[in-house]
């Protein structure tokens, strides 16, 4: 009887422990957002609200897919900002959002722009999830990454990129 009691206690302990573990591993990553005027978007969101808010691009490059001729990828170039989209079922979605230089003072909602120091990035976002071979700080979202490219300790490019 005593043995059965001990066994039940161990079983309960194991169950409680495994439930605890499960809770820990199911914490989901949150995506990082870019905002302009009242539009707040991330990769895989519909592109239209952001494109409408940004107005006419200085350059628009269409990249035909090697398969679906009517489902092009498009690069919209604005001063200091580039938006890449893809089309699925007739709807254009955001693929990449990139702050490419400091000519137009674009900032992330957390207040970081090209030209800021590494310290400011860490203060706003914490330590990166990883640092790539070429020193890029990578923050993992759920289905995307936010990447800070540096030259020395200065941000040279900020890229919201859909995971491929």
């Amino acid at each position: 009887m005593k043995r059965i009691g001990i066994f039940c206690l161990i079983l309960l302990f194991c169950l409680a422990f495994s439930v605890g573990c499960k809770k820990e591993t199911t914490v989901e990553k949150q995506d990082y957002f870019f905002s302009h005027q009242s539009v707040r978007v991330t990769t895989d969101d519909a592109a239209k609200p952001l494109l409408d808010a940004l107005g006419t691009p200085t350059e628009r490059i269409v990249r035909p897919s090697c398969l679906f001729g009517n489902a092009n990828d498009v690069l919209y170039v604005y001063q200091g900002l580039e938006i890449e989209t893809y089309t699925k079922d007739g709807i254009e979605y955001l693929y990449n959002i990139e702050l490419v230089d400091d000519t137009a003072d674009w900032k992330t909602p957390e207040g970081i722009g090209v030209g800021d120091a590494r310290g400011a990035v860490v203060k706003a976002y914490g330590e990166p999830d990883s640092v790539s071979q070429n020193g890029t700080a990578v923050y993992n979202g759920k289905d995307m990454t936010l990447n800070f490219f540096y030259t020395g300790d200065t941000v040279t490019r900020i890229a919201y990129r859909k995971n491929v």
Binding site: V62, R63, L67, F68, L75, S132, N134, T136, V164
Partner: protein, 346 residues
């Protein structure tokens, strides 16, 4: 009594055979035909219509290979018999298994692999997978190709029984589905898919910087498997990069350096045609049908002429125009090629 039992068994067997035939016919009917629109989906099937022809050269790779080299030109100018087994976004493991599949029928002297797809280290997209794999002939090689290719959302069974995937297509059946139910005539010219349009390349924008320039380990592993398979079968493996280089399909110098190192380490020839574009005679205002992503027929013919000379002079491929049987086969192919070209250019 025994006779009755035998009759019952025969009836059951007949019913089973009928059911199997019905399922096969349904499968055939519901599979996309890729005859109008995305003809790329026919490319894998096309190969099996030409397995009896001797091919000295087998091209492998993605759209960069089936839009860059024209086997009829290679034959006309050099007497080199070739076939392209390429598909839209054909990943390196698919190229590897298509090589294995080819070896079930023939052993070419040279395999030319276009390296662009090495940038992908994981399965990408069901639509591309389907076009490459669905029409592969059933064999253990096909099973391996499916296993290596399917994305997390796809099921292995749906590739074995495409009916599971396409059963709802009955609502979308068109005239094509019935016209081409049993028609296996090729849409390509030995794997070359002809495009005659002209859309000039207007932007020279380079690709965006990457966070990591290492080519994926998994894709390099398949390249190594391909090299070993070629070695085992006495085939020379040649690596190429097509001359197209545009935003979104950018070939980074860092990738090129890795391929150069791999080729040098293993004694392979590697031809990167991007810096050779001018020498080849390519004009990206006239030789591309989609703003520089792919070559059109004019560009592909120029590249093929240039590469044919390399194959002849550096790799010793023989002129087979003296072979009357093979010449007759190719004569028909060249006529069909010219007719299609003239028709499309009108």
């Amino acid at each position: 009594m025994k006779q009755i039992q035998l009759k019952r068994w025969l009836a059951a067997a007949a019913i089973l055979i009928l059911l199997a035939l019905l399922l096969c016919a349904l499968n055939r009917l519901l599979l996309p035909k890729y005859r109008s629109g995305n003809t790329e989906g026919r490319l894998t099937a096309d190969y099996y219509t030409d397995v009896k022809t001797r091919h000295q050269v087998l091209f492998l790779g993605d759209c960069e290979v089936y839009e860059s080299f024209t086997p009829p030109t290679l034959w006309e100018e050099y007497g080199i018999s070739s076939y392209i087994r390429g598909n839209a976004q054909q990943l390196v493991w698919q190229s590897y298994y298509l090589l294995e599949d080819t070896l079930r029928y023939e052993t070419p002297e040279v395999v030319v692999f276009n390296v662009y797809a090495l940038k992908y280290g994981t399965p990408q997209n069901e639509a591309y997978n389907r076009m490459t794999l669905d029409s592969m002939k059933f064999s253990p090689v096909k099973l391996s190709a499916i296993r290596a290719s399917i994305t997390e959302e796809e099921s292995f069974a749906s590739y074995l029984f495409p009916l599971l995937r396409f059963h709802s297509r009955w609502k979308e059946l068109t005239q094509d589905d019935f016209t081409y139910l049993f028609d296996s005539s090729p849409v390509s010219h030995n794997g070359y898919l002809m495009k005659t349009g002209v859309e000039p390349m207007t932007s020279s924008r380079a690709g965006s910087p990457l966070t990591d320039y290492s080519l994926p380990v998994s894709s390099m592993e398949y390249l190594e498997k391909m090299r070993l398979l070629c070695l085992k079968n006495g085939i020379e493996l040649i690596l190429v990069k097509s001359p197209t280089n545009s935003w979104g399909y950018w070939w980074y110098d860092e990738w090129d350096a890795q391929i150069n190192d791999y080729a040098a380490k293993n004694g392979l020839s590697y031809y990167n045609f991007i810096p050779e574009a001018e020498k080849i005679g390519l004009d990206f205002t006239t030789d591309t049908y989609d703003a520089g992503v792919h070559l059109n027929v004019s560009g592909a013919e120029k590249l093929t002429s240039y590469f044919g000379k390399i194959l002849r002079e550096n790799h010793g491929l023989e002129d087979l125009r003296f072979d009357s049987g093979l010449s007759a086969v190719w004569q028909e192919k060249v006529v069909r090629y010219q007719q299609e070209k003239e028709g499309l250019l009108k």
